[in-house]
């Protein structure tokens, strides 16, 4: 295989992995989730109902 192509594939994968790890870390700290106790749906519903004027 072309050596340049190898380098591009490896670089893309490393950049993706780095980006993913940074993104997931920031996301976890901004919105830690709820384990088994999620109220995210409730927040979505509240937004939805307020849009409908309730």
């Amino acid at each position: 295989m072309n050596e340049w192509l190898d380098k591009i594939i490896v670089s893309v994968l490393i950049l993706w992995a780095l980006g993913y790890v940074v993104w997931i870390t920031v996301k976890k700290f901004k919105r830690p989730g709820c384990g088994d106790s999620c109220s995210c749906d409730a927040k979505k519903l509240a937004k939805n109902l307020s849009r409908k004027g309730r």
């Binding site: 490896v10 992995a17 989730g33 709820c34 384990g35 409730a42 979505k44 309730r54």
Partner: protein, 739 residues
């Protein structure tokens, strides 16, 4: 004349009830969702929503955390009050479905009466009528409905019995809302309320309804106080003046509501509920005589836990072998296919497949662990375990309610921290938040299994392997108790509160629930392997692979040649040997080169730089790298070690699984040169480090959200220090014993 069809507006319905009355089971049945249920109180600590359609009308259903009353003293109960009073992000519900346990009707109706006071339309779902029947309880549903003034639907939610009738009742109640008949408050209460209302009239807060004012009057520290707009110092004399009316009427303000409502319910239920003596001691009571016994109960609990961990260890082996075989089945052709491109071959075979495949091997253990957790939770045994632990907990100043969060911690630290919301006292809650992550979560399981499988089982057999797994799970709990004592004694002197736990009846676990729990947790594990572990594997591989100067290979060759020349071989003979790919010398060179590349890689250099910090615990630089890489998520150590040992060995090595590669690892420098890196004390030290360390970014984040940044940093710092001390102690003591 043309007719216009107007779709009925969307409705919002709240599901409320005492803890463990089957609200979430009913919610799941109505909405088709799969929210977690269990046979012990305190599982739901946040509101959850779902949608359903009844008679063409869209309905939003809100499942509220269980509450015995609306005297909201804990964060989860406050969620319920906020939704009912329209004080949350949701509007006031159009209808309340109050779920009551038919076997404990009077106590369940106490909450219903408090909800009724808010003047919201209601339907009463009389759940678990089958269990009430077995206890000889007969309820005249029509009479109850007439006396309450609302529809009452008898049902068994878990068997879907009465579900259609409930939907019909909901549909009818939305068309013609029926507000329940409530208590006639005596003069003392109405006088007190008038005084309170007049006193608050000048406040800057929003005007409160009579029901809300009653909550302020009756509750010790009502969550509604802040809505009055009056400063706490000013409201105290006002409350005292209002409560004086209750004293004058011969009532204790904090007990008045319970006395009035229970008296009302007593007469209401007099000819509604009949108790027939069945002449039999209920099965649950018979079992509880043994299972909650102060001595036998504890012994049985320890025995059950021991059997669980032995089984996890023993049952998983054939499935693990199968996954290992499958991993190799993928790894070998991929490696051969990419042979022309060494960098891609290494990335995929040594990095991605070794990292992710190494993790997936532990899926069987995760599934078996959650099989047992689901069985124990659904059967009602976990509630007994909480009861048994209460004495131990109160000894170290911990709130008895702390056991349920700690129990959840054996599955995952995030729901454990969330579950502390059931604890009213903030200081007790903080203590529990700080110690809950010490419980051995399922992410620690792969670390224990690999160390035990490589170093305990081969030396001491399967029985000791199972025992070690059991002991590692007990370690967190054992350390947590004195720590809780320290925290409550010196940092948070919280109020010691009595532990009130309703022991649910024993039930056969629902097979679908058990399967769903295994599926859900197994799915999460696989998802993590395919996302975060995959990404981390790529990064760790890159840090272990680069930089790659050619001089390293030349230097390794020079060293091998010099060593062979020293043994008396000629240069021509050495060259001939090296030319044959499968000759011992060529393999030795390959191994030497791989090790040299790894040692001078970015990861190798970082590991060697930090290793002295972990030297007292016996860790070499490779273990140190594994430990450091595991701080975002502890299971990353498996993929890290998989990559490190794959890159550091030649491809033809016979010991091709991670366990045997670790066992064959030797110190290459320093005073221990030539001795095995791993032995029993080091394996124990690694396990102790992982048992006590906060290596989970998500748990740190949830602690920060629930307790604040200061406590998030504190919990991370104290657990890391504790883990270091624990592993050093174990290694130093272990080396003296095993040496």
């Amino acid at each position: 004349m043309p007719t216009t069809l107007v779709a009925p507006k969307e409705a919002l319905i709240a599901v409320i009830g005492n803890p463990n009355t089957g609200k979430t089971t009913l919610f799941n049945k109505l909405t088709g969702k799969r929210q977690r249920v269990g046979n012990y109180p305190g599982i739901t600590v946040e509101k959850k929503t779902g949608r359903l359609e009844i008679s063409g009308r869209q309905i939003n259903l809100v499942d509220l955390p269980g509450a015995y009353s609306l005297a909201a003293t804990s964060p989860d109960e406050r969620v319920a009050v906020d939704v009912l009073t329209g004080n949350s992000d949701l509007p006031t519900p159009d209808l309340v479905v109050c779920v009551a346990d038919a076997a404990n009707l009077q106590r369940n109706l106490f909450l219903a009466m408090q909800v009724a006071d808010f003047g919201l339309p209601m339907v009463l779902a009389l759940n678990m009528t089958d269990e009430a029947g077995k206890l000889g309880i007969e309820i005249d549903v029509d009479k109850l409905s007439a006396k309450l003034g609302i529809p009452v639907v008898p049902m068994v939610a878990v068997k879907s019995q009465g579900l259609d009738q409930l939907k019909l009742a909901i549909s009818a109640a939305l068309e013609r809302p029926q507000i329940p008949l409530t208590v006639n408050w005596p003069a003392g209460v109405t006088d007190a309320l008038d005084t309170l209302e007049a006193g608050l009239a000048n406040g800057e807060g929003e005007p409160l309804t009579h029901a809300e004012l009653r909550r302020i009057l009756f509750d010790a520290d009502s969550a509604l106080l802040e809505r009055t707009g009056v400063h706490k110092d000013k409201i105290r004399p006002l409350l005292a003046a209002a409560r004086e009316h209750l004293f004058k009427a011969g009532m204790n303000p904090l007990a008045a509501e319970a006395l009035i409502v229970y008296k009302h319910l007593g007469s209401l239920l007099a000819d509604v509920e009949q108790h027939h003596d069945t002449g039999k001691v209920p099965f649950s009571d018979k079992l509880d005589r043994v299972l909650t016994h102060r001595v036998w109960g504890l012994l049985i609990f320890l025995g059950v836990m021991y059997v669980v961990f032995q089984s996890i260890y023993a049952w998983a082996s054939p499935f693990m072998d199968a996954i290992e075989w499958l991993t190799k089945l993928v790894q070998e052709p991929v490696s051969a296919w990419l042979a022309s491109s060494p960098v891609l071959q290494s990335l995929f075979a040594d990095g991605v497949i070794a990292g992710v495949g190494g993790m997936l091997v532990f899926l069987p253990q995760i599934l078996i662990l959650f099989f047992f957790i689901a069985l124990l939770e659904d059967s009602g045994y976990m509630a007994r375990a909480a009861f048994l632990m209460d004495k131990l907990f109160s000894w170290c100043g911990l709130n008895g309610k702390s056991f349920v969060p700690m129990l959840s911690g054996f599955a995952c630290g995030i729901p454990a921290v969330m579950a502390t919301r059931t604890i009213e006292d903030r200081k007790s809650r903080l203590t529990t938040i700080l110690i809950a992550p010490l419980m051995s979560c399922s992410a620690r399981l792969p670390v224990y299994v690999i160390m035990i499988g490589a170093f305990i089982e081969p030396h001491y057999g399967a029985k000791w392997a199972g025992f070690t797994l059991f002991a590692m799970h007990l370690l967190g709990l054992t350390i947590a108790l004195p720590l809780a004592w320290f925290f409550t004694k010196f940092m948070f002197k919280g109020k010691s509160q009595p532990f009130l736990l309703e022991l649910p009846p024993y039930r056969w676990p629902a097979p679908l629930n058990v399967i769903w729990r295994m599926w859900e947790r197994g799915g999460q594990f696989v998802k993590r392997a395919g996302t975060i572990i995959f990404a981390m594997s790529v990064l760790i591989w890159a840090l272990c692979y680069f930089p790659r100067p050619e001089s390293v290979e030349e230097q390794a060759k020079q060293e091998v040649v010099q060593s062979e020349q020293a043994k008396g071989s000629t240069l021509t003979a050495i060259d001939e040997q090296l030319a044959k790919a499968d000759s011992p010398l060529a393999l030795a060179l390959e191994h030497e080169t791989a090790s040299a590349y790894l040692e001078q890689s970015y990861m190798g250099r970082a590991g060697k730089f930090i290793q002295p910090l972990f030297a007292p615990a016996g860790f070499d630089w490779k273990i140190t790298v594994g430990v450091l890489a595991s701080f975002p998520a502890r299971e990353v150590i498996i993929s890290t070690l998989g990559i490190i040992y794959n890159l550091g060995t030649d491809v033809d090595e016979e010991s091709d699984d991670l366990k045997s590669r670790m066992a064959s690892e030797h110190w290459t420098s320093g005073p221990l040169k030539g001795r095995p890196v791993f032995n029993v004390p080091i394996a124990l030290a690694i396990m102790v480090f992982f048992a006590l360390c906060m290596q989970c970014g998500a748990t740190v984040a949830i602690v920060i959200r629930e307790a604040g940044l200061k406590w998030g940093i504190f919990s991370f710092a104290y657990m890391t220090v504790l883990a270091w001390i624990g592993s050093v102690l174990i290694y130093q003591i272990g080396m003296r014993i095993f040496a």
